[in-house]
Amino acid sequence: MLEPKSFQSIESVNDFVIKFANVNGTGSASANQMFAKAIFRMGIPVSPKNIFPSNIQGLPTWFEVRVSEKGYLGQRGGVDIAVAMNPQSYSKDIDEISEGGYLLYDSTWKRNFNRSDINIIEIPLTQLCVDSFKNPKQRALFKNIAYVGALSALMEIEYEVLEKIISEQFANKPSLIEPNIKALNLGRDYVLDNLDYPIGIKLSRRNLLENKILISGNEAAGLGAVYGGATFCSWYPITPSTSLAEGYEKYAKKYRVDEKSGKNLYASVQAEDELAAVGMAIGANWNGARAFTATSGPGISLMSEFLGLAYFAEIPLVIFNVQRGGPSTGMPTRTQQSDVLACAYASHGDTKHVLLFPADPKDCFDFSAKAFDLADQLQTPVFVVSDLDMGMNDWVCEKFDWDDSISYNRGKVLDYEDLEKLESYGRYLDSDNDGICYRTYPGTHPEKGAYFTRGTSHDEYARYTEDGNINAETLMRLMRKFRTASELVPEPLIEINGEDSCGIIFYGSSKPAVLEAKDILRTKNINVDLMQIRSFPFNLDVWEFIASHDRIYVVEQNRDSQMRTLIMAEGGISAEVLRPLVHFTGDPIEAAYIVNKISEREVNYKSHKNIKER
């Protein structure tokens, strides 16, 4: 006999968090992705996040999916449904479930869990698969598909949508479609035949995602590099950037093979280390190809010497830094924004670099393509600084767009005809007074345009000099160039929401959490103005926003409030105005965290102000 429930079950439509607890290396990822994709196809905003260990097989791994009809897609916190497939992590996984939530577990091995305040859903997944599949590998793998099938019945995911995803996924291996569908039905039919359904948490089609796509930032950036005309990629494997180079290769294989000759119109070289990776990219750029490397924090440290060379010798270069948790090897599979300063001032001596901060995969695509123009225009390294959260997780974002009528901007490059007309050529002559000089590619003209690229101090004709004044002039010209850069890079996005608002400065993957926090704060009568920084060097808009606020919270995912330091250092801004709001556990920042921090401090601020005004 069923005991009456002593708790209120969570009831919600299109608004919940579900967490899958799996064992690394058991093939759960594709099933979990299928689950998220199905929700996306039903037009409901969804944000899947992979929480994985730095391990290949055996350790616990989680896949957390937030569904939010309102479109809040930052990390939320709390778990409404847990699909617990890993006995190793049962206790933690079950503890996390909110009161009234749901637990689905593999009841082939029955358990008693110490929670009387949640709904426990028992499905003998292993048994079902053992009974239906002969091959031991299939039995293990299809457990995952089977729980997706079960959830489709429990949560009213449209079955046809799942069926379609499977047939698309295995379009190239049709023989796999049938067993996958069979596994899907196995879970689904078990629920239909044996359990109460649907549960309190449900999905319902909304079609809110008409112009949206679901993609990871790394794949988007790799595609952006193909669109941006990159012909050379050199890289060294490192989480979380590897999938960016792979994304580039995937699309290059598709769109960059000459149909007639079968030859590649691109090269991708897996280097022996990051020093070589960046060296190769510099060599290719020096020779007039658009080239890039993709890495993460430890790679940036290794590349630093070369980055100074590219800065000082003025060689275009695009570097993707998909940030992870530092310092040192740190948390290789967790997210942070802790390389801002390391990138901005990478390398010894007076160096400053152009940084772009994408905030979602659409930005990753756009900024990736744009970075190649900027690097060519400015003849300097351009960093695209993203992070693990947006790099490796699929995010909902706007569809990509491209305008065929816009040509690549290759910057100031002299060709044969230009050189013919020239009396004398000086590689580092600032004839346009914008700090940017004219390059030539090797092999252009038999008598004119050759010069010697060097990292040693040089004069306007690229000749070695030890004259300190000449070197100082070069350094000043590079500052002039940096000012020019501030006019070319993407401006900040600013949203003003009323008088006496406090400001929030943020960048990158904190965006969804900040936008959600803004709405929540408004319900608490706290108005915030927003500035999303999209690049460094900062332009005038950044300084104006700061000047028009007396208190600004700088939201970032590192310990030292690095963006704040950068703003203070570059703009001489007082520490009082810019208030650190940092989060650095390696999990993506949550709106609730921002709301708490700001409301706490705003209450203090207002009471102080009231006292003063009295």
């Binding site: 796509i213 691109y266 070589a276 510099i282 040509s407 092999g443």
Partner: protein, 350 residues
């Protein structure tokens, strides 16, 4: 500053097939020490390029950091040069080479540059079979930082303070053979007759060509106890054979005596003739080459000449299946998949 420039035996104003004189292949005035072996090598590079009718602007000269790495400034003024960072020339050359395979790549390095800080990049450039000529101007010392031991110093040698070197040397030529370099030669900066044909052979070769050139440092490593001093080398150098490069278009068969030479085919159809000292030596067999080098080294002698040669090697462009048009010359319509393709991609992601 070199007060004593290596003497050029040919008439100054002789012209090659391009109508250029040797002067057209020169560079800036050297700032290396008078008598530095590196300057002699530069002179041989100038001579080889002159003789081969190389168009200087179609050459890229790249280097690391060191006295040796300064050398590219002192030859081929009409070539683009790239003095990169210490030990990292191979990676820069790799990227540059991928971007445009139509240029001739001359990499200049030192023993510190290639056998210590940059040994990893050196190894991988060979492994990838970059089509380039890689010069190691090997003086058994760190010239530019004033005379520290390098990794190619012989075990028993002493430094300028009379201190013993405690570690065994790395033999870059043997290493390169083991790694699959397809043209490996050793010579001596002061031996123009041997060096110039070896450089010419290396330039004509397709694939990675290593020239390990003993190049005495007059300032820090030319004392009696050094195994890389002029006198030591002159006494201990054992030439493998006389290399005589026969340029394309000339009668090949007349330039060497049959029976006493091995004919080696170069990728571009030209040939290099090797006169054997030891009739058993076959430079196309890596095992033989390595044994021969070791044998001689055990006798305290340095084997010079063309040590190894493989005409069948495939270079990185072939391995990567790169298009004939250099990557740096591809146009936007070949590079950008465009709006329509993006619509299809968007579709696949929704």
């Amino acid at each position: 500053m070199s007060y004593i420039k290596p003497i050029n035996h040919h008439p100054r104003l002789e012209k090659n097939k391009l109508g250029l004189t040797r002067r057209d292949y020169e560079g800036a005035i050297s700032t290396l020490c008078a008598g530095c072996g590196h300057d002699s090598i530069s002179a041989c590079i100038i001579e080889a390029c002159f003789q081969l009718n190389i168009e200087a602007y179609k050459v890229a000269k790249l280097s690391g950091i060191g006295c040796s790495s300064k050398a590219p400034a002192y030859f081929l003024n009409q070539s683009h040069g790239f003095n990169s960072v210490h030990g990292r020339m191979p990676s820069v050359a790799t990227g540059a080479n991928c971007a445009n395979g139509d240029l001739l790549y001359l990499g200049i390095s030192g023993d510190g540059d290639s056998a210590s800080i940059g040994i990893g990049q050196f190894i991988h450039a060979i492994r990838r079979q970059i089509n380039m000529v890689y010069f190691v101007e090997n003086n058994g010392t760190y010239g530019l930082t004033k005379g520290q031991f390098s990794a190619t110093n012989d075990l028993e040698s002493k430094n300028k303070y009379g201190e013993d070197n405690l570690f065994k040397p790395i033999d870059l030529a043997s290493m390169a053979i083991q790694l699959g370099a397809s043209y490996v030669a050793r010579s001596f900066s002061g031996d123009r007759d041997q060096l110039i044909p070896l450089i010419k052979g290396a330039i004509q070769h397709k694939g990675f060509a290593l020239l390990d050139i003993i190049s005495p440092c007059v300032t820090f490593n030319n004392h009696d106890s050094s195994t890389k001093s002029y006198d030591y080398i002159r006494n201990h150098n054992e030439a493998v054979g006389k290399t005589d490069f026969v340029p394309l278009g000339e009668e090949i068969t007349t330039s060497y005596k049959s029976g006493s030479s091995v004919e080696v085919n170069l990728h571009d159809g030209s040939k290099i003739a090797l006169e054997k000292v030891n009739s058993k030596f076959d430079p196309t067999n890596p095992g033989n080459s390595l044994n021969y080098i070791r044998e001689k080294s055990e006798e305290g002698k340095l084997l010079t000449g063309l040590l190894y040669f493989d005409e069948s090697s495939e270079d990185l462009h072939e391995t990567l299946n790169l298009t004939k048009t250099p990557l740096n010359q591809l146009k936007q319509d070949e590079l950008c998949p465009g709006e329509k393709a993006l619509e299809i991609i968007n579709e696949s992601l929704s």
